[in-house]
Symmetry: C2
Subunit: 204 residues, 2 copies
């Protein structure tokens, strides 16, 4: 990248810090910094404070490991949720995505990733043992595996499935098939093959 | 936009604040917030501090109104710069753009905008009077107008030109023509017309 001449070290430092954010290039960083320079001081402080307060204050639910502000997240502590079902997801964004569907009333278990030997992530780096402990305590009737349909996701699914074999519970995996509004002819063969193999009675 | 379910108010507040930045949508804001959650606390504090420090500390050069950390910017206070030339620009990003060309060794004058009746910006909202005062003090031999080639830029150029008529100095405007690597057939007629009218001897 071309060397930019900053006339202010304070501006340069802010641009450098903003530029560290993923997906924010140096031009965008400069644009954002100059935007903030034009804002009221209280607005810039509100932004800065919200970031530090979040980083310092956010906690992880001791039951499901979702992010929350208390010891226990509002899903786990909500008595109207169905505590017989636990949906296993990779991270907190997946919880948000499923909550947004408004189709699920059970609880969650956030693994914090998937098994990926290439990235040096093994089962012990994830919240798998705490999931097993949760099932061992009883009360859960179904574990829904909702990891990404990748090789790492499949590996993790299988690892969890084996770990839960000893318990008398149902282990299910979310349906894989052709996405809504996708064109059949452009669907990859693995997805299409699985969609055929996983066909269900029409009208259900 | 669909309502997102945040399990943490601290996260939601940070996402809301990041989302206020221009060009940062709610999905990007969430992605950035979750990225910051995974960073060391000191890194998040460094980012937050750089923003507040910039907003509180940045000053405007009392001579050219470029942003700087001192009373006078490093261009104005640099004795090796040619103080006989003053280049008039709209904002600080234009100073950076011209500095990046490494083709200019004179000084600047940052107007802080252009005359735009539509946006309620008149001559008195810009640093035009201070430019006239600067010229009145003597020592400047050429004023280079380097505003954007828009109607507002042209209006401002003309206003400044009239204001400077009383002084015995050269007033120039940066060349307008076809941009490097642009295709002639796709160049708009105003640009092409001006490029023809402003033709220069070949080989110069």
């Amino acid at each position: 990248m071309m060397q930019t001449h900053y006339s202010s070290q304070l501006l340069e430092r802010a641009v450098t810090e903003i530029n560290r954010l993923p997906g924010i290039g140096s031009k965008t960083a400069l644009r954002l910094a100059l935007h903030l320079l034009r804002q009221d001081e209280v607005k810039v402080e509100a932004l800065a404070d919200s970031l530090v307060a979040m980083r310092q204050g956010v906690r992880y639910c001791r039951v499901c490991h979702n992010i929350c502000d208390e010891e226990c997240c509002e899903i786990c502590s909500n008595p109207t949720r169905d505590s017989h079902m636990v949906c296993v997801v990779e991270d907190v964004q997946d919880v948000m995505a499923i909550e947004n569907t408004m189709q699920y009333r059970g609880l969650y278990h956030v693994l914090g990733g998937v098994i990926s030997p290439m990235d040096g992530i093994g089962p012990s780096d994830l919240q798998i043992e705490s999931l097993v402990e949760r099932i061992r305590k009883g009360g859960v009737e179904e574990v829904i595996l909702a990891l990404s349909p990748t090789m790492e996701g499949d590996t993790t699914n299988y690892y969890i499935y084996r770990k839960l074999e000893e318990f008398d519970i149902k282990v299910t995996v979310i349906a894989r098939g052709i996405a809504q509004n996708d064109e059949l002819q452009y669907t990859d063969e693995v997805t299409l093959g699985r969609a055929l193999a996983g066909r269900v009675p029409f009208g259900k």
